[in-house]
């Protein structure tokens, strides 16, 4: 592969991809030149696949064939568009018509009315893209996309992740060519350092510095690793990048290899992500066959190749030393640092390990320069961050925003607010290692440092929105259950500490806690933060500490008033019949599994609190909303 060949492939394919980026009128002209009148992009990410995009795709192919359109319409299965709650998603270019929640039946109409006859099927479009006067607005103008800035996700939902030519068409492998043919390894590291890029896996360590340490370590064998063991429950950014744009990770790892002097790379990826694993393997095979991996890449004399290793379901393997121990074939237990991986990492050799999203920024920085990158975001956190927005929010999905965007913009504008008229209570970031940001800090700009200041952390990018129906003690307990399960057991502060914390929380949620327990939590947490071997144990108390800090009154309500204000903790729930509303229909009494409800026909019933097992059957059965829980 030479630069000339690369540019030739780019020219051959770029029009096809440009149709998806240009405004409709020009797009139509361009579309004609590509030989395809229209293009249909169907999301093949995990979210949309789960909601049935495979069936939609099959129906589309069949319907196109039935209508004799298969030669004029190009069908592309892409990665994630981001709006997962509206899947399966389908978009038709050059119009940019965005069909949400597509069904096989709907597809038949779209093929006939839109693709064949040229009339957009407006009632099947995503409603936000249809103006009140019936005109169609482009997807980038909708609330969900307007404030987003897609760098790491730039190709997700745009290109076919299983076709390397489409990646080349959007400047793919230009950065590797530039680095190998015009830059020294030091130039590459300096550019990355100047960009201020910080690790997107959560820690926020400067990537350029990490690379320079690994370069400075002298050894014949070095390794480049990619951490795709995305374990934070509720986070799926890395998966979406690997599913939507796997080539960009391969290119970035090769650049990292060149910078530090490594010739071998490993991608450690969760086995729970079958689609991502499959697409990455296809991408590696294609890159190899075209000479972007292998010997003497771009005639530079630089050799590099990549191997996939599957994780086996251990959260701790997201920690860098544990991840390397796992690749070595052992129990994924962390090792003490120092020595740091840049000195002694995988198989005892100097190793650079970066997260998927970090790598997804590399090629763009090399191509466009560090100044371009620092022009986005904040001075200490340049660039963008991808968040997996989930929980009690209207637009569940993947969003990429410039650092410094406020939580309010994310929730109210991009996320479309809280459903069912409920009130926003807190946003949880950083998963089991992070904390929550309460409603009073909703105007906080999101970057590494302000999140730490609030007692949370960036984490890998899971952002779970909680509404007034969420009990903060229960949420803390949920995360502690997680860390108890996932603590590897190697060091005592984490192994025993997490368990003790959980026991105390369990007591509190059952109404048996004391005020001294709160002091005990704080003391134990301090010891765990100081003495645990790895970040898992050091950060495990964060979900409790941060909820105790912002929602102490809820803890006190559980302890002193024996009530759960959000009516979540079962042991503290109390079901009561409002006698004014009760018609005496006896339905509740007949359905109560504990025979705890008594009363005569047509007279108000009463729940015997000693017998009640708090199952909620009475409330679900009541037709008069006469039963309340508090």
């Amino acid at each position: 592969m030479t630069l000339e060949e690369l540019n030739r492939i780019k020219q051959e394919h770029e029009k096809i991809v440009q149709v998806r980026e240009i405004v409709a009128s020009e797009g139509e002209k361009l579309a004609k030149e590509t030989g395809y009148r229209k293009q249909v992009l169907v999301c093949g990410g995990t979210g949309c696949t789960s909601s049935g995009s495979k069936k939609v795709l099959d129906a589309l192919h069949k319907s196109l064939k039935d209508n004799g359109l298969e030669d004029e319409i190009l069908v592309v299965r892409t990665g994630c568009f981001g709006l997962c709650s509206l899947g399966p998603i389908m978009i038709v270019y050059p119009e940019g018509a965005f069909y949400s929640q597509a069904t096989p039946e709907g597809v038949q109409r779209i093929v006939k009315e839109h693709l064949k006859e040229g009339n957009i099927v407006k009632d099947l479009l995503y409603k936000e893209t249809v103006h009140t006067d019936g005109s169609i607005i482009s997807l980038s103008e909708t609330d969900f996309y307007k404030k987003q800035l897609r760098i790491a996700l730039r190709n997700c939902g745009v290109i076919d992740p299983e076709d390397i030519n489409e990646y080349i068409a959007v400047d793919g492998y230009q950065a590797l060519a530039k680095a190998l043919t015009t830059m020294t390894p030091d130039d590459v590291i300096n550019e990355i350092t100047a960009s201020g890029l910080r690790g997107r896996g959560g820690g926020g360590f400067p990537t350029g510095r990490k690379w320079s340490f690994a370069k400075a370590s002298v050894n014949d064998v070095k390794y480049v690793c990619c951490n795709a063991d995305e374990g934070d429950p509720g986070a799926f950014m890395d998966r979406s990048i690997l599913e939507g744009d796997p080539q960009c990770i391969i290119e970035a790892m090769a650049i990292a290899g060149y910078a530090i002097g490594a010739h071998h790379g490993f991608v450690y990826i969760r086995a729970e992500y079958p689609i991502a694993v499959q697409r990455l393997q296809i991408a590696i095979d294609q890159a190899r066959s075209m000479g972007f991996l292998g010997k003497n890449i771009f005639g530079s004399g630089f050799d590099f190749d990549i191997e996939i290793r599957l994780g086996a379901g251990a959260f701790v393997c997201g920690e860098e030393t544990a991840l390397m121990t796992s690749i070595e074939g052992h129990r994924g237990e962390p090792r003490p640092r120092p020595p740091f991986p840049a000195v002694k990492g995988l198989f005892g050799k100097p190793t650079v390990l970066n997260n998927v999203e970090t790598y997804a920024n590399i090629a763009q920085i090399i191509l466009k320069g560090s100044e371009w990158f620092t022009s986005m975001g904040t001075p200490t956190s340049p660039g963008t961050k991808v968040f997996a927005l989930g929980g009690k929010i209207t637009n569940v999905g993947l969003v990429e925003i410039p650092m410094g965007t406020t939580l309010r913009e994310i929730i109210e504008e991009i996320g479309g607010g809280i459903p069912n008229g409920k009130k926003f209570k807190a946003a949880q970031t950083g998963g089991p290692s992070g904390g929550c940001i309460p409603a009073k800090h909703i105007d906080t700009p999101i970057d590494y440092d302000s999140l730490i200041k609030l007692g949370s952390m960036m984490g890998s990018g899971g952002m779970i929105i909680l509404d007034e129906d969420t009990c903060m003690v229960d949420i803390a307990k949920f995360y502690l259950e997680f860390t108890v399960d996932e603590s590897c057991g190697k060091c005592t502060p984490c192994r025993v500490g997490t368990r003790r914390l959980l026991q105390i929380l369990d007591k509190i949620t059952k109404g048996k806690g004391t005020m001294e327990d709160l002091d005990k939590i704080e003391e134990l947490a301090k010891h765990m933060q100081l003495s645990s071997l790895c970040a898992l144990g050091q950060t495990a108390p964060n979900p409790i500490l941060s909820t105790m800090n912002y929602f102490r009154d809820e803890y006190i309500a559980h302890i002193q008033d024996k009530t759960c204000p959000a009516a979540v903790c079962k042991a503290l729930k109390k079901y009561e019949i409002i006698s004014d509303k009760c018609k005496g229909c006896t339905l509740c009494a007949r359905n109560c599994p504990a025979n705890a409800i008594t009363g005569k026909v047509k007279t108000p019933h009463v729940i015997n609190q000693d017998k009640c097992i708090k199952c909620g059957v009475c409330m679900n059965n009541c037709r008069f909303r006469a039963i309340e829980v508090h």
Partner: protein
């Protein structure tokens, strides 16, 4: 050994042959144990002690090392799984949308708890942490099929549809 298998383990010669091939393929690869166990579980459905012993012998490492790895990672199971493997996502996004109620309903319906298998071997329930389909929370998977935006009252019907297909009763 604390993890007892419910049924006596019996392998076919085709399975044994396949395992031998896998071991031969990875024998000289550094860090071979994980991929070998992953493929072994693919062949046998789980990792009974007999299979662990074969892996240990084949790779020239101790059984205790194999057992240590097999029990460390949640992907590996030392007990057989049901014909239909149900996993309920208890990731954060699903949890705040009531995944615990889905799990409770399943356990009630099948009469087993998470981690167990029905006596007829038809269903097993496990909880898992995030399948990444957070847009559809709460979610459960039965084999490779994802069921999203679930409510507890849908659970029974879904299970019944598998029973009808399988023709066995729970």
């Amino acid at each position: 050994m604390s993890e007892k298998t419910l049924f006596a383990f019996k392998s076919t010669s085709a399975q044994d042959e396949k395992l031998k091939e896998v071991i031969a393929k990875y024998k000289d690869v550094p860090g071979a144990l994980l991929p070998v166990l992953q493929e072994a579980q693919g062949i046998f459905g789980y990792l009974p002690i007999e299979v662990q012993q074969s892996v240990a012998d084949g790779l020239g490492i101790s059984l205790s090392e194999v057992y240590g790895v097999a029990t460390f990672y949640s992907q590996f199971s030392l007990t057989p799984k049901g014909e239909h493997r149900i996993s309920v996502c208890l990731g954060t996004a699903c949890y705040v949308k009531g995944a615990d109620k889905i799990l409770a309903e399943l356990e009630k319906k099948l009469g087993i708890t998470s981690g167990e298998c029905t006596p007829d071997g038809m269903f097993s329930i496990d909880s898992c942490r995030c399948v990444g389909a957070c847009g559809l929370a709460p979610v459960m998977m039965i084999d490779d099929e994802v069921y999203g935006k679930l409510t507890p009252d849908q659970v029974g019907k879904i299970i019944d549809s598998y029973i009808e297909k399988g023709g066995k009763s729970v």
